[in-house]
């Protein structure tokens, strides 16, 4: 059940934004502070903890050997999984991922996949028989809005740390590595909320409660966009989308220094 206290706080957000202010004192186009802590799990092949304000995400990569898809015999692949853990918010429940988590996972996946972060051909071990699958799983451990961007940063930070395990007799040798996973591009996601007709970068939870619409854009370098996702019931004008895209290029450029 949605609590009335949220409505009261969301009203506060809306009336502030109408004056061009935000609940936490940020500018409308200002991102929260990002911290990246690498190597949080020795059992992972690459891992990172990312905080975006109070939103906190733990990401880990596992390189697993598998057979390639018949239509792409010389290519490995990635798989992104997200869990919104119940400890991250009283609103999250135990159980299989719901719509929200699946949407986040798929948008982050598209950013990395279509942004050509990884050359899938480099994940091929033996054509038609053996390829690497990079399982990127991230867990939201404290939720204060914008798991899209936090997840995207965490996934990329973890990938940048990922080592490729050594293979012996077509099996992975545990805790021994043959080299690092090479990333061709550094795609990152940027999310903007539309609240009371204003565009607001990197919404916190109560801003998400007040938002009419949401737009996420992944960019892989200074020129190329690689994924879009519009969410929520409201709408955007083309000029607003263009503004979001410009914000995305600017924001991703700053973030790349961190991951």
């Amino acid at each position: 059940m949605e609590k009335m206290i949220w409505d009261i706080e969301a009203n506060k957000v809306t009336s502030l934004i109408k004056e061009g202010k935000r609940v936490d004192g940020r500018k409308l186009d200002e991102r929260r502070k990002v911290t990246v802590l690498k190597n949080i799990s020795d059992n992972a092949d690459g891992s990172a903890k990312v905080t975006l304000g109070k939103t906190e995400v733990m990401a880990g990569v596992k390189m697993v050997l598998g057979t390639p898809y018949p239509d792409n015999p010389d290519k490995g692949t990635i798989s992104v999984g997200v869990e919104l853990l119940p400890l991250a918010s009283p609103q999250f429940e135990v159980g299989p991922p719901r719509e929200n988590a699946i949407e986040i996972a798929r948008v982050v996946d598209r950013g990395i996949r279509e942004g050509k972060a990884i050359d899938f051909k480099s994940l091929c071990v033996r054509e038609g028989e053996l390829v690497w699958i990079a399982f990127i799983d991230f867990y939201v451990t404290n939720y204060d809005g914008n798991a899209f961007d936090a997840g995207s940063i965490a996934a990329l930070a973890a990938l940048n740390e990922t080592k490729i395990p050594k293979i012996e007799d077509d099996k992975v040798v545990k805790h021994e590595y043959s080299g690092k996973l090479k990333l061709a591009k550094q795609p990152l996601l940027t999310t903007v909320s539309k609240i009371a007709g204003n565009l607001v970068l990197d919404p916190v939870l109560i801003e998400e409660k007040a938002q009419d619409a949401r737009f996420s854009c992944a960019v892989s370098d200074d020129k190329t966009m690689c994924a879009f996702q519009k969410g929520f019931g409201g709408s955007f004008k083309v000029s607003e989308i263009d503004e979001c895209i410009d914000l995305s290029f600017k924001s991703a450029k700053e973030l790349r220094k961190l991951v």
Binding site: I40, V64, L85, L87, S89, D137, N142, D144
Partner: protein, 245 residues
Amino acid sequence: MAKKDEKIEYVKNGKRLDGRKVDEIRPLKMKVGVLPNADGSAYLEWGQNKVLVGVHGPKEALPKHKQNPYKGLVRFTYRMATFSVPDRKNPRPGRRESEISKVSGEALEKSIFLERFPNCAIDIYVEIFDSNAGSRAAGITAASVALADAGIPMKDLVCAVGVGKAGGEIILDLNKDEEDAPDAVDIPIAIMPRTEEIVLLQMDGPITKPEWNKAVKLGIQGCNQVYEAQKVALREKFAKVEKGK
């Protein structure tokens, strides 16, 4: 990697494979109040184990038919991240996780004044991000301090440790290499330290009565070491607040 047929000396000149003494636990540290959205929380590192715990509640237990009009329920969820083990774990919770959740929740029950919260539930979520034997003891230990952080009234903390046998020796806080010994016996144990009442006890593997006597003594001694670390972490919360501004 140790092969099964190789003869390994698990304790040599009083030292174990990783250099520890037989009665020494791995480095243990924890921090309380790490998750703003939880009513109580704790992060714990114990050797390679890394555990995050969040507590919500007490709140109304739903669905209603699960409510107990005499006391609150403890709902403990132990989960492992896919990347927390050497082989990628299936993200779906398995039977092992269900069993650990059940016994861990039951281990904490007696420490809480549950009769003050009829019809309510206290939810404890334990997430393992890295593991190397002893993650359930780590989960229970962290959960108990997270409960205290949540301000849930308790008679005592609960502290847990693994004790067991490897290579014929009774040792405290087994790591994965020791747990993989051919004759390994693993005995997770949890106590309430003030009264030394045992609230969790499991075992797998053959062991004699004299060995058990030695193990339980060592286990309780280990729990008390864990208890000291819990006390430090809880008191630090005040220190953190004092320095905070």
